[in-house]
Amino acid sequence: MDVALNAHGSTLLERARRVAGIAGQHADDVDRNARFPREAVDALISERLLSIQIPVTLGGEGATTAQIAEACTVISQACSASAMVFAMHHIKLSSLVSHGIDSPWHQSFMRRIVDEQLLIASATTEGGIGGNMRNSICAIEIDGDTCRLQKDATVISYGRHADAILITSRAHPDAVTTDQVMTVFTKDQYTLERTNEWDTLGMRGTCSEGYLFKGEAPKEQILPKPFAEIAAQSMLASSHLLWGGVWYGIAVNAMTRAQAFVRAAARKSPGQTPPGALHLAEASSLLQQVRANVTAGLARYEAALAEPELLSSMGFSVAMNNVKIAVSQTVPKIIDHAMQITGIMGYKNGTAFSLGRHLRDAQSAQLMISNDRILANTSNMLLVNKIETNLLG
């Protein structure tokens, strides 16, 4: 499918770059005030980037995960919170596109996303459960044609600014905690009562406040597949890969700043290797590791999409988990190198080399679904899943 050009003749990359231009102008203000990146999201809307993933048959552009990840990287270099909003929205769309494509309600909802450029949020995290998203306490109740749900949703990024929320729960009041469904509620179908504020170290612009969610909607809005399948077949890969694109973008921008610093020093004293040059070389090797991890993950996902068995295999889950672990652990190291290079100029806010926001934003990567939790999950799978012995797969 060709999404190279949209109606206005711009490539996807050009559109993402224009969004980045706007996001960058407001990034420090968004961060300082922990406010929603309204300007960047308005730009995403006017560039029609919120619907690129939706199939062409439903009015979208059928963009691949790789193309969306590339846009995440571009925007993240300007404002990682804006890029994270974009990534999380598209993670939700991946579930709609993969698991709602045969359901009339979800098809027409996807058309609405295209026409109205709706922004979609996610509520998997729950009070008492934390990041263990394959378990729910709350249960959806079905009463005739209506479903009702109340959830103590402790983290919903841009919850107040979203047009719809995809929310997990147990499938019915008697279901075990792992028997879950995911339901779409549109803004007019729920209330949010704020229970937690979002005054955090980083990713401040995601405005990931906690809410008591209360919703009521026609029951056909429940996605027709068990959430276990949705989690394994669309959320796992799209989360780790699109987050990976965002986190890589943070590292790239830190490196761009560090390199500018080293080059400025080199130009001032030609013939001498500037002090930060070795750090830059070391960090560039780490940067390449991150990029290789994300791109290999994207290629593997693309290949697995053609084979449902592969998509729900343990080998695939291990590989996606490993992308998340490696990227989230390595990006802070790269920024640390960049800080050593730029010194006080990187440590200070408001210089061309400032790295405080990068450092703080990148710290969230290891907590966003805790790495400890992911490692526990991988270690369990490795009790039976064999280590891959060939180089090329």
């Binding site: 075990v176 068990p226 068995e309 729900s312 009790l383 039976v384």
Partner: protein, 82 residues
């Protein structure tokens, strides 16, 4: 073998309800976690002296008692043929 599988589900996959579950009931919907399914695989490997190849390590292969039995039978037969 189904009785044995039921016992293992109860003991290793923390599914006490296994004794009364239908042969074709979805074990994940009954509450089996991915951790539980791995413990079950390890117990099956030990009891029947087989090894699950990576291509069988997916949700489907362990989703019902009938499918588990088929999978194990297939592996045991493959071992005897070898």
């Amino acid at each position: 073998m189904k009785t044995q599988i039921r016992e293992m589900l109860a003991q290793y996959a923390s599914l006490p309800s296994a004794a009364t579950l239908d042969d074709d009931a979805d074990l994940y919907a009954a509450g089996m976690s991915s951790h539980g399914s791995v413990q079950l695989m390890l117990a099956l490997e030990d009891t029947f002296d087989v090894e699950f190849p990576d291509n069988l390590l997916n949700r489907r292969s362990f989703s019902t008692i009938t499918i588990i039995e088929q999978t194990v039978n297939q592996l045991v037969a493959g071992k005897e043929a070898a």
